[in-house]
């Protein structure tokens, strides 16, 4: 009888899981598998996690426990406007943490979350290589430099106007 009853993963990831299963302690590859999926989809859906559970034969509750433990994993899709605050050393020294808090309070969501309407999400990056412009925030492809917390409401308004 078929043990995989959820089908949401592309063939390359299924292949990767199959390869992991050939290894000893295949369940220790769980995080690596989740990494791949997030790399491709930007987030982990319940279907993704359930299929991983079935293919890797790790209980869904365990997969869910791991995915919710690490801030790195996103459990909702990114917003239409994906805010990414750089927390690299230079940006951090220049107050990126306060910029991050400003986005969180202005949007009413925490790091790793997406607003109800699906418009905005917040994540962090580690040094994107433009330290001279610190602190740096990217929203989708656009880069904002020397951002201060007071600029945040205006940045959000401008983005939202784009629709």
């Amino acid at each position: 009888m078929e043990t995989v009853t959820t089908h949401s993963l592309p063939p390359d990831i299924v292949e990767f899981i199959e390869a992991c299963k050939q290894q000893e302690h295949s369940d220790s590859y769980l995080i690596a598998v989740l990494h791949r999926i997030q790399g491709q989809f930007g987030w982990l859906s319940e279907d993704h996690m359930n299929e991983v559970a079935q293919r890797l034969q790790v209980p869904s509750a365990t997969v869910s426990g791991v995915a919710t433990f690490y801030h790195f994993f996103r459990l909702k899709p990114r917003g239409k406007h994906a805010v990414s605050v750089c927390l690299g050393t230079a940006c951090f020294v220049k107050g990126a943490d306060r910029v991050l808090s400003a986005f969180e309070s202005e949007l009413g969501i925490s790091l790793g979350e997406t607003t109800q309407d699906g418009l905005f999400s917040i994540e962090v990056s580690r040094c994107i290589g433009v330290c001279a412009l610190a602190p740096v925030v990217t929203i989708n492809e656009k880069t904002y430099s020397r951002v201060t917390p007071t600029q945040v409401p205006e940045m959000i308004r401008a983005e939202a106007e784009k629709g």
């Binding site: 559970a53 079935q54 209980p59 509750a61 919710t68």
Partner: protein
């Protein structure tokens, strides 16, 4: 084994190497306070309530997780330790609702006991409160995460004993919550509704779905004819709720208490058990004759059945098609009995007192509905719920005179009583199957090989020139072990008895919380409850299901013979593969 000598509270003690400080202290009669620790589950070391002072070690050490070393000098009760322990308990209380008076675990709560024992008499800090919605999607198990103290006993019992892995610790820090995958609804999870999480939870974070209000309402309704049946294992455990020693049989008092509560007829699930044996033995002998669908798997335990449907759907054809004793009896109450009394079955309200919360799931399965959509069983009460009702009514249970069940559906053989313990269904089936096969009367009907509360038992019997291989398991991790052996071809059994709960129904998820000096799932408690059932069996004159005269009459008057069309219509059922699929 090497032994280690150490000093605990100024007393020298010698224990085997590898013993923990907690266990060593117990040999001296010192019970170190504890919360997350459970002797039958893996070590968690999460709560640190069990800390002790070890001379020369700067930090206090958790005694449940620290092995003894030669020459250790330990203090379990210095002023510093007492204060630190009380602080730890206070920290837990700071995030805990102040709801004891309205809480179902009031007076039965390990956190309450601990707070009392630590001398917490005031609440100095108003800590942050958790704010999770109560999760009541399941027919059986309610999850109230606001009361959870994150000891993870439920996570451990669900995976280590039951092999379900339905629960996990999700998120982190203050947001940590114990829940099924994706914090989903219990009703949509692989939960098999065994209720063992309820049993091991020290607080009210897991509870059964309460049906007492429905039953009070039916009892007060003059238009309802309220019929009750009690499962075999109830009589062996209910006395504990009223301070009777563990293992005191209390059949007669239970009957009297039910009568005082106002039930119109008091029947015995045991009758259904005798009937199950006749149907199941017949089904088994036919399969043996044809050599098909073997091993046959028993079907009384609804937790086991749901487990099979989620985890081993490929084994469904092997399961006996017999309904459980409860469902057989309910079907007869609303047909056979209703016809005899010339009553409309819709005016009859059937209450089943069960050791089990999965029974609350079973009665809602569409297979157990009448043609008009009404359920055969209207409500299931756990042993705990009945204990509460009896107390709420002010009935002095321990001093009640013994009452008798009503006939015809209240008479049973001793074989039915032992259904309540692991191995009992097998023994009852063998008494009937072997006599049917050989046509001779067994001299000795005690099948000792299938007795005892160990997780897996196996035996081979020579019957009528044939070898019959049997196996018995309790706790679903053990079911996995047996079924995997069957699937790999390593073992060829003919009949397997499977019960979801440790020890069988006597260890069910609806049984009383353990009395002082015992712990949840305590094998000692299980043994004494089983002993009570074997004693009841031994004292009966009729000890074989097929010799129950009322069963014989039922077949003659109503069903025809075992496995007849009528019997199939009323007493047999079907199963289906279920999503989500479990991970074996």
């Amino acid at each position: 084994m090497k032994s280690v000598e150490l000093i605990i509270d100024n007393t020298t003690v010698s224990v085997p190497e590898g013993t923990t400080i907690m266990q060593a202290a117990e040999t001296l009669g010192v019970k170190i306070p504890r919360l997350c620790y459970h002797p039958d589950l893996s070590l968690e070391g999460a709560c640190r309530v069990c800390i002790v002072e070890v001379e020369g070690v700067e930090n206090f050490l958790p005694s449940c997780a620290t092995a003894v070393r030669d020459g250790m000098k330990i203090k379990t009760n210095s002023p510093q330790i007492r204060e630190a322990r009380r602080d730890l308990v206070e920290l837990i209380l700071d995030n805990h609702p102040k709801e004891c008076q309205t809480c179902e675990r009031d007076a039965n709560c390990e956190l309450q006991d601990l707070a009392y024992a630590m001398g917490v008499r005031e609440r100095l800090f108003e800590g942050k409160r958790k704010d999770h919605p109560k999760e009541s999607s399941s027919t059986s198990v309610i999850r109230d995460a606001n009361k959870c103290i994150l000891c993870r006993r439920c996570v451990r019992v669900c995976s280590e004993v039951q092999g379900i892995h339905n629960l996990s610790q999700l998120h982190r820090g203050f947001d940590t919550v114990v829940a099924p995958a994706h914090e989903g609804a219990m009703a949509d999870s692989v939960c098999i509704a065994c209720g063992q999480c309820i049993n091991v939870c020290p607080v009210a974070a897991f509870m059964e779905k309460n049906s007492t209000e429905d039953v009070w309402a039916a009892l007060a309704d003059p238009k309802k004819h309220v019929v009750v049946q009690i499962a075999p294992s109830i009589r062996a455990a209910i006395g504990e709720g009223f301070g009777l020693p563990v293992g005191t049989p209390a059949t007669g008092q239970t009957v009297t208490a039910l009568r005082r509560l106002g039930f119109d007829q008091i029947f015995d699930t045991n009758f259904g058990a005798d009937l199950t044996i006749l149907e199941e033995a017949n089904e088994f002998l036919m399969r043996v004759e044809k050599g098909e669908k073997l091993p046959m798997l028993t079907s009384c335990s609804p937790g086991w059945i749901k487990f099979m449907e989620h985890f081993y759907p490929e084994m469904i054809p092997h399961a006996s098609s017999c309904k459980s004793p409860m469902s057989m009896l309910s079907a007869l109450i609303k047909t056979y009995y209703a016809e005899k009394q010339a009553m409309d079955p819709d005016d009859i309200y059937v209450v089943a007192v069960m050791p089990c919360v999965a029974k609350k799931f079973e009665i809602q399965r569409p297979e157990h509905m009448m043609d008009n959509g009404m359920p055969y069983t209207d409500a299931v009460l756990t042993t705990r719920e009945l204990i509460w009702m009896v107390k709420a009514y002010g009935i002095d249970f321990a001093n009640l005179p013994e009452g008798d069940f009503d006939t015809p559906l209240g008479f049973s053989s001793g074989a039915a009583d032992i259904f309540g313990t692991t191995g009992g269904v097998m023994e009852a089936a063998l008494r009937t199957a072997v006599e049917t096969l050989t046509g001779e009367t067994l001299e000795k009907i005690d099948f000792e090989v299938v007795r005892g509360v160990t997780g897996i038992k196996e035996a081979s019997l020579e019957v009528d020139g044939k070898t019959i291989n049997i196996a018995v398991s309790n706790g679903l991790n053990n079911a996995k072990i047996l079924l995997d052996k069957v699937k790999s071809g390593e073992k060829q059994y003919h009949l397997i008895e499977l019960m979801a709960c440790p020890g069988g129904c006597i260890g069910g998820g609806g049984q009383p919380y353990p009395p002082q000096d015992y712990h949840v799932l305590d094998p000692e408690v299980l043994k004494m409850r089983a002993r009570a059932l074997y004693d009841i069996d031994k004292a009966k004159t009729v000890r074989r299901s097929h010799q129950n005269p009322y069963i014989q009459r039922l077949y003659k008057e109503y069903l025809g013979r075992a496995g007849s069309e009528k019997a199939h219509e009323l007493l047999h059922t079907t199963y289906e593969a279920r999503e989500p699929r479990g991970i074996k």
